[in-house]
Symmetry: C3
Subunit: 414 residues, 3 copies
């Protein structure tokens, strides 16, 4: 049975890889070398919209092969040594474990870069530090999501530094930078969400026309990043889905990403629409993703205030935001709301603010959450495999062939 | 020579395994499936008295095989990848290294769960966090010994969470929870103590009738956990030993565990007795284990006060306890006391409070400690192997066969 | 091409090994067993001057083989398990990553000893802790450079402890202590510097007669360790080089090390001279190493004050030192100074204080630094290989044979 699952998943990956290769050739022919060629091998994974749709499918399919191999207790070690460097500029248990799990799956050892952010703050030092930590590194996973305009820029700077060091012959190999959450996107999360969804509906083709409600939800905390909702609308719109985004007045996302979502929906034959209420977004939805976030404008203001070090202003902003949040306590995913959907699947990146459980009132009613607890844990279970697939695809020119060989070897993990 | 030692240790393990299998069958026949069947494979290791005596022998014997293989520089890697998660809710260098060493012996990578205890305090979150860290975990080692009524309960909660996640299909494999010290028992320590003792006396049969003095000893510190003395009386009584527990008035242990020790002694043909003085316990002893601990009632009071956050009350309790401790400065393991024994072996879990060395007056005289320093270090040296054996026995249905195969392969470690 | 490089590097290592063996025999014949015999295998690496010159060549050559193997993506794993323990008594990103990289190259897992220095402060405890962390350890890397008279002494104490535990049969294997920077020497840095230089000039023979300027340079910070300049003059003088040391009045190094440098220069046919100005040191230099340090006398005073805990005195000392430093702002490595050299190679252990980049005025002009950035990064890139070579040579009696076998196996790393 395990063998069948492995064989099936490899077949699907091979099909996806062939499509990705064709798409790369097509892009090269249409717009020249700048746009064409592989967008995974030798590259970083920073934003899903930097990748062709077909390439995203390769990642999801490679993750499924890795999962099938692991569940059959076959080895997935592709490296006999090498480092996976992690840098968390924000506390994180789940992402830390996901990255460590992914590294371990592939045979890499994790080494944390635990520097105070001040030490790697300025251009010169970023370039130097990035090079100094990379002599044996295959991947660098970074989480930097707190300040608007910072996280993605920092990742690009690290990527530029290791790229240059590789070109200069300082680094024999060029580590791939993996975005473990930035101010703009959260690709390891949303790709895991997508992998989960694809598994539930039975394939990428089955995504077409499905309605997704990505909505704001009330939380008694403040300053939650925008990367998940932005990542979801920027990813799900690429697969022909009918994506609805809903939030209270004032909670808008980055305009750029919203524009991208619209364009993607058009391109993929799906749709994208902003709704004023949870109800409207939930009506007839197949998938709901209710989650709190801070308004983009507030995140900008907060970043500015943090820069000045004015604690009083920061406290005042928090107070004001919490008060504003409290105006929208009705934005909660209840059974009543769920009954408006087409028996929708509930998604969340976890941890959720569960009413009566983790807080007095929160994003989701306890009975809704409880009903979806097992699928939610499965959703989260995709993350290590998605990260491993991202690293794999960045380091090996033909991941499908590599995984097929691993599957053929059938080397037991124990 | 190494080969002989390996062969011998495997033979002994095979005998122990056969006895354990027979005992499991017997238990199943006598009391039904609930009591019978394997109590190591697929299980956690939380308290020694959850395990059949024969199963404990399997652990000790498997530890000896691992030690012999390692000392012959043969590989003991049974996993080519996988995580061993550790959670230390208390500072620890020795246990941390023992766990890391055990993981490394087996081929697992350590990943620390370094969450503030507040974040995993309540039911919902424990279940979720335990699942989220376990996608690639083979074992979860937890140390949580500070508060009465908390540590063991927490470990059970984690074990329940991963058991459920495994049954729900969220976790492909079910990590084994290993108690690295709780409020009740300290099985990795006492099993290492036992392994050391078995090696010294020449086998489990040689333990019968040996007299053990588990005694309180004076320390100028306060609040030391009860897990070691409780673990010792709950373990050594199972092998026909003559166990004497001595402590000053007011320093009693948990009643439940004391009751268990009495019952075990009866069952195994040994004896268990509480003595009022160190002298009485030491008289004719073959093994002495003098060690400080806080009274159970004080630990309960301390737990209660910590819960209220009343710092003044806590300081007052500490002052009172230290004053009370000071009444029993004569409870020190001196040469005079040692001369009452039958040339006893001195045991300690380390670090010891050594008079004139680590404190002005403490648990043991410097000359006694010095005489036993090398055996004490050997005693400690068993810990990584005991932990590895616990993981091994939890993950493989037939550890004896697995280790015999490893020994047959003779794969060099270097 | 990779294969040629590997073959060539192994040939050079074999020649160096033969010379080292002959030197060991010669030393044994000349001065008895105490001086002769291997000084790498089974030993620690604490100070370069504890090692014969020929042995240092073996390390550099072994590092080059490891580098060639790695760059050809062949495995360098010599251990299938085992720990590399690290203890950083001072913050460190670069050295931490270098050590982790070295461990990973060889197949060892890093385990940090993250104890507050207070817990391992006194003799008894150092012996015990060193033993307790070493049951599976192959190497212990220590960085302890802040206090004069402390770091090297501590490393010797750890080395003595594990040596004794090994002799007592407590440790089956004796971990090698590797000095990752102490108060006296910084051998992993200076050996990496030397490896870089040897590569640049084309061999050890090419070092003879080259002029090296090891000079002080201005920095707006205080209390930088002496280990780099001391290590450089104690190492480079052993290879027939013409070493000039320059510093402002009051910035002298430890007298012992200066004496050693003089003796080494005589012995190796080179020279060693202290110059009063940067200009004089730079004149006709082939290599320059301008770097800030604190005067030895100030470091002694600082160590004494830290011992008393007198914060006001410490602040006063810092103020006084910074003011004194400021008198020598002209000690900066500028293009004008570089033009006095014979097109010298600029070396630095990084991070450098770069004028106008990392500080208003510092050790080196931005254009000089920029011109040497790539070579500086290559210089740093030798460190993981040098550390791995030190561990390798301490653990295997014939590293050349071992590496030749690895190269012959051609086992891919991916």
């Amino acid at each position: 049975m395990a063998t069948d699952e492995i064989r099936r998943s490899i077949g699907t990956l091979e099909t996806a890889s062939a499509a990705a290769t064709a798409a790369a050739r097509h892009a090269a022919a249409a717009s020249g070398a700048a746009e064409g060629g592989p967008d995974l091998f030798g590259k970083d994974f920073l934003l899903t919209w930097d990748k062709r749709r077909e390439s995203l499918e390769v990642i999801i399919r490679a993750a499924a092969v890795l999962k099938a191999l692991r569940e059959a207790d076959l080895t997935t070690r592709l490296f006999d040594s090498g480092l996976a460097v992690s840098q968390f500029r924000d506390n994180s248990t789940r992402t830390r474990f996901s990255f460590a799990s992914a590294a371990n799956l592939l045979g890499l050892a994790v080494q944390d870069l635990d520097e105070g952010s001040s030490q790697v703050a300025h251009g010169e030092t970023v370039r130097e530090t990035a090079t100094m930590i990379s002599f044996m590194a295959e991947a660098i996973g970074i989480r930097d999501d707190l300040y608007i305009g910072k996280g993605h820029a920092y990742m690009c700077e690290v990527a530029g530094a290791v790229e240059r060091a590789h070109r200069d012959g300082v680094l024999a190999r060029r580590p791939a930078v993996i975005n473990l959450q930035c101010d703009i996107d959260h690709p390891t999360q949303t790709m895991a969400d997508l992998a989960h969804l694809v598994e539930r509906v039975g394939g990428f083709d089955e995504l077409r026309g499905r309605r997704v409600a990505m909505t704001w939800a009330y939380s008694p905390s403040y300053g939650k990043p925008l990367s998940v909702p932005q990542g979801v609308i920027g990813l799900f719109t690429r697969f022909g889905m009918d994506v609805r985004l809903a939030y209270p007045e004032g909670y808008s996302l980055m305009g750029d990403v919203v524009d991208k979502a619209g364009a993607f929906a058009k391109e993929s034959g799906g749709s994208f629409r902003i709704c004023p209420t949870m109800e409207e977004a939930f009506d007839g939805a197949d998938v709901v993703y209710p989650k709190s976030w801070a308004p983009f404008a507030v995140m900008e203001e907060r970043t500015r205030i943090v820069g000045t070090g004015d604690r009083a202003a920061l406290a005042e902003l928090e107070k004001r935001c919490l008060a504003n949040n409290a105006r929208f306590k009705s934005w909660e995913c209840t059974n009543a709301l769920m009954s408006r959907t087409r028996d929708a699947l509930y998604l969340h990146c976890l941890p959720a603010d569960i009413t009566g459980v983790s807080c007095a009132q929160g994003e989701v009613a306890a009975d809704v959450f409880e009903r979806f607890r097992v699928p939610l844990y499965r959703q989260a279970g995709w993350k290590p495999y998605v990260i491993a697939a991202m690293i794999l695809a960045a380091k090996f020119p033909d991941p499908a062939a590599r995984l097929a060989r691993l599957a053929g070897d059938r080397q037991p993990r124990l």
